[in-house]
Symmetry: C2
Amino acid sequence: MVYITGVIVSEFRYCKLTREWTLFAPERLKRPKDLDNKREKYLGEIIHEKCPFDMGKEEFTPNEITRVSQDGKWKCRVVPNLYNALSVDIPSVSNKDSYFEKHSGFGAHEVVIETPNHDKQIWEYDYNDLINYFTILQERAINLKKDDRLEYLSIFKNQGEAAGASMSHSHSQIMALPFLPKKISDEIEYKKSYFEKHQRALLDDLVYEEINHEKNIIAQNSEFVLYCPYASQFAFEAKIVSKKRLSSLIEFNKSDLSALCDITKEYFSKFYTTLGEVSFNMIINNAPYKEYNYKTRDYYRFNIEIKPRIFKQAGFEQGSNMNINVILPETATKIYKEDR
Amino acid sequence: MVYITGVIVSEFRYCKLTREWTLFAPERLKRPKDLDNKREKYLGEIIHEKCPFDMGKEEFTPNEITRVSQDGKWKCRVVPNLYNALSVDIPSVSNKDSYFEKHSGFGAHEVVIETPNHDKQIWEYDYNDLINYFTILQERAINLKKDDRLEYLSIFKNQGEAAGASMSHSHSQIMALPFLPKKISDEIEYKKSYFEKHQRALLDDLVYEEINHEKNIIAQNSEFVLYCPYASQFAFEAKIVSKKRLSSLIEFNKSDLSALCDITKEYFSKFYTTLGEVSFNMIINNAPYKEYNYKTRDYYRFNIEIKPRIFKQAGFEQGSNMNINVILPETATKIYKEDR
């Protein structure tokens, strides 16, 4: 393990069997959990009485990295994760100890506090809230890219307890790792080879077919399409994909960001009407930093996945990596589109 | 979708992006859920008032496939899953509809009712309970293998709501599919190539290193080793691996089964003392039927994985397939081994 002044930080360990890495982060055990004990006081390591993400409680978060302000007040801010699984302040080093391989817990781990309003959830965001949110994500994506030790950028939002959130105040997380997870390197390799063969991006072809198929399309605008994928892993899973040659938030201009806000707002309005306050994971997929260049736009397409966590993944999924889904995407699409 | 006399059965759909299949099984929406509503009456599709897995309620399960009896009473029985995701009574057919690929929901889906005692959980099983359990699994593994349309055998146990169980009466599930999931075909390919290179099974080498490393070993007997793997994905994850050249339950003789019962009993005794009634998935990994022959023993090793579901998998895991684990395996091992 890597220690910083006596504190265990974290480490990556490589599994030779699955060829996947696991990130060990004992510090995260200390996180407060307001979702587990809504009606009780905070337990354990609590150093304050109220939510540290609220306006006026800025002293309880680590030093701010950036913010979006309006009329002198912050609307959206990014801070290092207090219970960080990764740290940029340690060396990025790989070790091999006899048969075992590990890597120091080098990387970035940040929290995006999406709104100062403790009770406002993403389905209540107006256009300005979303512009602030995506603009700050873009800024962080651009800045983290400057550290050329970082190869993989992960942006995600866990909403609700079943999706792994520990705080109810609306937030997202940004992690940047010093290597690509196997899933991602396999994906990139496959997308590159698909491009070499067809001279088209794989996701462009899939979107083309989904649009032809019609039944899974929830909505479109000039720049994005929103649909429930044909082989969705989760009930009511939805995806937003760029129809332009955009591979990362880094490349978005103002009009791209604006179109993204429109379709995101439309989706979450339907999400809330259809499912209510259901837990979900949102994954904002950008081309990884590794080997990123102008050619990346050939084979990689920016996309957002929303995976509601209504039904549990169980032993079959763990063993086979194959999901059982009880709702067909065409059924989910129909329900999303119903007027209510 | 495949219909049998008007009932939607299920279908596999292939995702060209992840190259994984998803199994769509709308019938499973109708499952009773005693775990979600412990103190309420059964909801929905309930056709009886008590647990259908109890002794005396056999009429509420589909026709029994096999049982282990003692003194004229059943101790363990296997029935088709009433809310089956797969059916052996439909043709195994693949379809390609323009860009989309699917496969009929052909396959086996069975429930192993492990005990007639509604309140007895696996950590309370005596040696006989475990012998009955593994013997009946072995019998099913041998019998399903006779259908040469089945390529993949999945045996798993979901315990507790957080692990996806819908019934509290102790049970396991058996699924057999007409093809290998991508995760499994990748794994087999990798294990075969490892054997070609080293003339040793990959899991033998990993077990050898874990035994040398010592810190992660919970227990051993002459035939099996029980340990917390170096790169465990879940907190307190444990693994039981055959030290002999056994690749599947099919190959176990009486003494192998006996040694497996011993180590399983020892593990679950430690599990209960350490973690209490925590949810977990248990995955019993056998060499897949596809291409199974005497050479399979060269590269594949029978093993059981137990994955406690204490912490949730969230957006980072969904996006990267990399897990964050807050407990190091050497810490978990130490806690498992503590006298209490």
